[in-house]
Amino acid sequence: MLINFPYIERDSPIHRLDTRAKLLFLLALGLAVAQTSNFWFMLVALILASIYYGLAHLKWSETRKAWLLIFWINIVIVLGNFFLTGGHVVRGADLTQEHILTYFPFIGFTAHAPFIGPAMLPLSVENITFLITQAMRNFSIALVAISLPYTTNPSHISSAIKGLGIPDSIAYAVDLTFRFLPTVGRDFSTTMDAQRARGFELDKLRGGPFGKIARMAPLVVPLVIGSIIGAEDIINAMELRCFGVTKRTWLIELRARSLDRILIALIIAAFLAITILNILGGYYPDSIIHFMHIQGIPTFLTR
């Protein structure tokens, strides 16, 4: 089995961006958009994430597989959430008066046996806005999350983790995990070929779910045990070379440019500002800073 990292070497602003800035941006964006269900806030986040993704210069043919999965998951999350809540989907926003457009027949949960039966699902301005906001939230995170593996050299990950203040031992373990993959891939192919020669076919396993899993043992056992024994050899070699006794140096040293430092500072400042606004907005419901606690539906839609 050939293991390929999705990284694509290209000269784009996002490829040149410091890996620490990319990791921080993803984390900050994910935590910021989780704090609100305001339509306009989410639209700004989606636009920012789209610009970021656009700057990565990734082609549809390169990321198609990941995007199809994300589209499918997003549809399942948004629509599944709507139907499973019986249309009462709006969360994280003040909902004092709902503007119902229509009801349509569906099935829903009931308080008595068989606990499921016909129910009318409300379609309102609020829940439609919520569904759109939820989709925008998921897509804005996905735009940054998907671009990360395609624009970040895998050999920079451990240096970036070290650069974020994580101890050497953990950063080096992550580095080893990435380096160990081709070896595991080669062992997988060797084991698979050896078992095929004995009549084992992974895609032709018989039996139900339990039987199929149990019949995977001839592949899983030698692969896992072989990997552990191989890892123990690496540990012994590292101990022989006194790993962990003194401070490590790294072959690849990430050097942040002025632009990277400014971006990192901006990301942290923006995230802190959003979090403070969210907290303060909860205490001042009549103030403008309460905007993160409302849906922000345009008034002409609710007339």
């Binding site: 089995m1 990321t63 994300i70 999350a145 998907i146 995990t177 552990i228």
Partner: protein, 157 residues
């Protein structure tokens, strides 16, 4: 391993593969303790998502890390040795606990991260993922523990 076995789908549950790779953090946790389990689960999930190009999803990485962390607590009882049947049963019990808490964490944080309702998080996230992990973990973990014990005995390590 997760890439190679993605073709095997659970009957009835949409887009949920068998995930036999979940046994890796369970095994490492049961043999080497909670921190190794946490690392194997968290970084393993991160790497799986990274390789498939589907991005980085911190709450699921952390949830998988928790699976390893909680399963690894069993070493305080078994000391990482599985010569007795009782120890293997204990490892299975901690694996169940780890999967329920870890997948539970990832699913429940989706209520905040993706603004899911509780029922959607349970029915859409928790049940298919936890069921798949429990089936795989509980079948493959004892097989691997026995195989590892035999390999250690043979190699004299």
């Amino acid at each position: 391993m997760s890439i190679a076995t993605n073709a095997l789908q659970l009957p009835g549950a949409g887009n949920v593969s068998f995930r036999p790779a979940i046994v890796i953090p369970l095994l490492f946790a049961a043999l080497f303790g909670p921190w190794v389990g946490f690392f194997a689960g968290g970084v393993g999930n991160l790497l799986g998502d990274w390789l498939s190009g589907s991005g980085v999803w911190w709450n699921w990485d952390l949830g998988n890390g928790l699976i390893g962390l909680i399963t690894g607590l069993v070493v305080y009882y078994t000391l990482g040795r599985y010569l007795k049947r009782k120890n293997i049963i204990f490892a299975e019990v901690f694996a169940i606990l780890g999967i329920v808490v870890g997948i539970g964490f990832a699913s429940i944080t989706d209520i905040w991260v993706s603004k899911l309702s509780f029922s959607a998080a349970v029915i859409g996230d928790f049940i298919p993922s936890a069921a798949s992990d429990l089936i795989n973990g509980l079948i493959l973990l004892p097989i691997l523990l026995i195989a590892y014990t035999a390999a250690v005995r043979r190699s004299g390590r």
